[in-house]
């Protein structure tokens, strides 16, 4: 047998790298803007599409799917060709994958600021984009498995296994969590409601972290770290063991996002147990990464790439110890809903994801351009400024999270809350918010140094578009024997089988989902809980559009400190008509589940016009456009009809007269407001619908009513 000559495709890798850098800078910039708004809300310039609630989704989606996503693909397209000793199977698929993914990101950049969102964290994009994501993901999968099929290297290096696990799991997660019933091109309702929707969301949310921000990035680590260190991974055996352990355990840990909520207790405990178990496989990866540098630490001193990798892997180790600890109920009771969680998340994203990606870019780009890095010194500056940025980001948020949580829980000797005004716990931590924005700005500054360095490097070299390589063809392993069993044939085709098993998963899933289209009977039904009126439903959709759930929870945990502050704790049965659920995950402002009836309509009107009028010192932005925008009444019958399909017990009559019902309720609220001095509203103003919804919140079973 003779060596075969072939060429690696470097163009796709280069394209993904460039996209990584561009989207990364944009995502960081949006993040810094959002961070500044938390102490200087005026920065939104009273423009809806620049307001925190909408920017936050843009930032998270940009950081996860645009920055890390493109970087993953760049690393996968580079490493897979070389590990498998073959060109990517199809240039056409590579191109569709690249341009399709960028198109999805552009549509996200347009729709999220417009308030077109499903409200589910990291899955905010609406249904047409969800379908596009599915298609592009399948294109990526076909290209990857096809490449594996034509490989010239029998052994699948451990990085490849990480990529495969990523593809399979993300496909399933994305589809299940985005099952929604469209109302229009830009609006849909999750087919799940309340507790069920929350569980699906955090099964997705947790595993998105696991299989989008962890496994593919570990795959990159296992390729680029040994390459950059020029020595084999510390223990290949450990890499295999921790890979399999990781993917078997990760999928069960999702419920730890819902501790002390209305989720059944046993499910919460299950999440905790598996989260603790995760320490071992996670640290397997960290130890393996760090020990790969054994005997080469002197090179870390000289190499910016290795410095980035060392901090990335260390951040991974810290985040994966902290995560399981935060899953313990006693610690979670303190940390949940506070800035502790964003701190934890940003150790992972800024440290682990960001730094690993920066290291990869600095190592890979000069090689693609057949030159050396423009300035190692500049890269070192990026490293130190970036590291400082992470510290300035995370440390103040730990302090602020712990401080605020402690303040929420302080009682006077007579049993009343010491800080009964929520706002007092916010103004206390504003200095920390300022420090955090400085941290973010430092990190962004580092990324701009990267842009300069990359630009100069690219200018000084030429892209090696087609890289020549050679390898022995793969010898056929089996000869068909007479009378062999059929499963021997299958066993030789692992990739085909994996593809087929995915198809089977999806068919099985569809069959399983149909029964759940009906409201589940196992959630204790509360007689008093009734569906939202058409106007309240419209108001709820405004709440979703503005991203109120980014800063306000609707889930009162059964703690004395919370029931004292907010009222009766939240029950699972109260959310059965909530498509989607809006529990939120962060209390930048107070919980709103028992807001209904707490203040008058006028208070809400003034508060939305300018929060500082009712709450001096508030960091909530103004929402003046709600006072002037006209509500779309025409779509209400369609919305109710969709809800009816999902099992919400609206009568046909209610669906038909939805518009009239809403108008009647709006007129009552508007007339009531117009009797006040200096207030002039129309029943068709959006603010009226939002007030209707806010006044309804949590009133169905409130025992204090």
């Amino acid at each position: 047998m003779e060596k075969e000559l072939f060429k690696y495709d470097n163009v796709t890798t280069r394209n993904f790298l460039v996209a990584t850098i561009i989207w990364g800078v944009i995502a960081f910039l949006v993040g810094v803007t959002a961070a500044i708004q938390l102490f200087y809300p005026d920065l939104n310039l009273d423009l809806p599409w620049l307001t925190f609630g909408r920017l936050r989704a843009l930032h998270t989606n940009g950081a996860i799917f645009a920055f890390v996503g493109n970087a993953i693909f760049a690393g996968v397209y580079h490493s897979m060709q070389r590990l498998l000793k073959t060109r990517m199977a199809s240039d056409l698929l590579s191109n569709i994958h690249f341009w399709g993914w960028q198109l999805i990101i552009v549509s996200a950049v347009i729709t999220l600021p417009l308030g077109i969102t499903s409200s589910k964290e990291y899955a905010e994009l609406e249904w047409p984009i969800d379908i596009a994501i599915t298609l592009v993901w399948v294109v990526f999968g076909i290209n990857m498995f096809w490449t594996i099929l034509k490989r010239r290297e029998r052994h699948l290096y451990v990085a490849i296994w990480f990529y495969i696990a990523t593809f399979v799991t993300v496909a399933v997660l994305h589809i299940v969590n985005n099952l929604e019933l469209p109302v229009s091109m830009t609006k849909s309702y999750s087919i799940f409601a309340g507790v069920q929707d929350a569980l699906v969301q955090w099964w997705y949310g947790h595993n998105a972290v696991a299989f989008f921000l962890t496994t593919p990035v570990l795959g990159l680590m296992y390729y680029f770290l040994p390459k950059a260190a020029e020595r084999p991974v510390y223990s290949y055996r450990l890499s295999i063991i921790h890979f399999w352990a990781l993917i078997f355990i990760y999928i069960w840990a999702g419920p730890h996002h819902l501790l002390y909520t209305a989720l059944p207790d046993w499910a919460q405990s299950l999440g905790t147990v598996f989260s603790i178990m995760l320490i071992f496989p996670s640290w397997g990866g960290m130890i393996n990464g760090l020990l790969t540098l054994r005997g080469a630490w002197d090179r870390v001193r000289d190499s910016a790439v290795l410095k980035f990798f060392v901090v990335a892997v260390s951040a991974y180790g810290m985040a994966t110890l902290e995560g399981p600890l935060l899953s313990l109920k006693n610690l979670n009771a303190i940390a949940h809903y506070t800035d502790w969680i964003p701190a934890h998340v940003h150790i992972g994203t800024l440290g682990w994801n960001g730094f690993l990606i920066f290291g990869m870019i600095y190592w890979l780009l000069p090689r693609l351009y057949q030159t050396s890095l423009y300035s190692e010194k500049l890269a070192n500056w990026h490293f130190f400024i970036g590291t400082l940025g992470i510290i300035f980001w995370a440390l103040p948020m730990y302090v602020s999270g712990f401080t605020q949580s402690m303040m929420w829980k302080q009682f006077n000797p007579d049993g009343t809350l010491l800080y009964h005004n929520f706002l007092d716990t916010v103004t206390q931590i504003i200095p920390m918010y300022i420090l955090r924005a400085i941290g973010g700005t430092l990190y962004l500054t580092g990324a701009i140094l990267l842009v300069v360095n990359v630009w100069r490097t690219v200018k000084s070299g030429t892209l090696l578009r087609e890289e020549e390589a050679s390898a022995m063809p793969l010898a056929p392993k089996y000869q068909k024997e007479k009378g062999e069993y059929w499963h021997r044939w299958i066993e030789r085709r692992p990739v085909t089988l994996l593809l087929w098993s995915t198809v089977v998963i999806l068919i099985g899933g569809a069959v399983e989902i149909i029964p759940t289209l009906k409201i589940d009977s196992n959630v204790p039904k509360l007689e008093a809980v009734k569906p939202y009126t058409p106007l309240e439903l419209a108001g709820r959709d405004l709440y979703i559009r503005e991203g109120c759930n980014a800063c306000h929870s609707q889930m009162i945990r059964p703690f004395r400190s919370e029931t004292k502050r907010y009222g009766e704790y939240s029950k699972a049965g109260e959310f059965v008509y909530d498509h989607p659920f809006l529990w939120g995950s962060k209390r930048t402002g107070p919980d709103l589940h028992r807001l209904g009836g707490k203040y008058g309509d006028l208070w809400h009107y003034n508060h939305m016009m300018d929060p500082t009028r009712t709450s001096p010192g508030s960091i909530m932005p103004r929402y003046p456009w709600l006072l002037t925008n006209e509500l779309d009444f025409e779509i209400l019958p369609k919305k109710l009809s969709a809800m009816q399909t999902l099992g919400v017990p609206y009568t046909d009559d209610e669906v038909e007269t939805a518009k009239e019902l809403a108008l009647a309720q709006a007129t009552r609220i508007s007339d009531g407001l117009n009797q006040e001095e200096n207030v002039e509203t129309l029943p068709s103003d959006e603010i009226i619908a939002l007030i209707a919804y806010l006044q309804r919140l949590g009133t169905d079973i409130n025992p204090n009513k």
Binding site: F192, F248, P515
Partner: protein, 54 residues
């Protein structure tokens, strides 16, 4: 909580797929050599005429 069974179903399917993948890879001999692959990935075989940096 029907949803739990649904998620359980999906999670088990994924786990089963991975279990199968593991058993296949093990019996295929993917893990027979736990030293070689780590060394081999460091070596990029160039085409004889190409002389670009590594």
């Amino acid at each position: 909580m029907g949803i739990i069974y649904l998620l359980l179903f999906f999670s088990l399917i994924i786990a089963a797929a991975f279990l199968w993948a593991f058993l296949w890879s093990n019996s295929d001999g993917q893990f027979d050599d736990v030293e070689g692959p780590a060394m081999r990935m460091l070596r990029d075989e160039k085409s004889p005429k190409s002389s670009t940096n590594s």
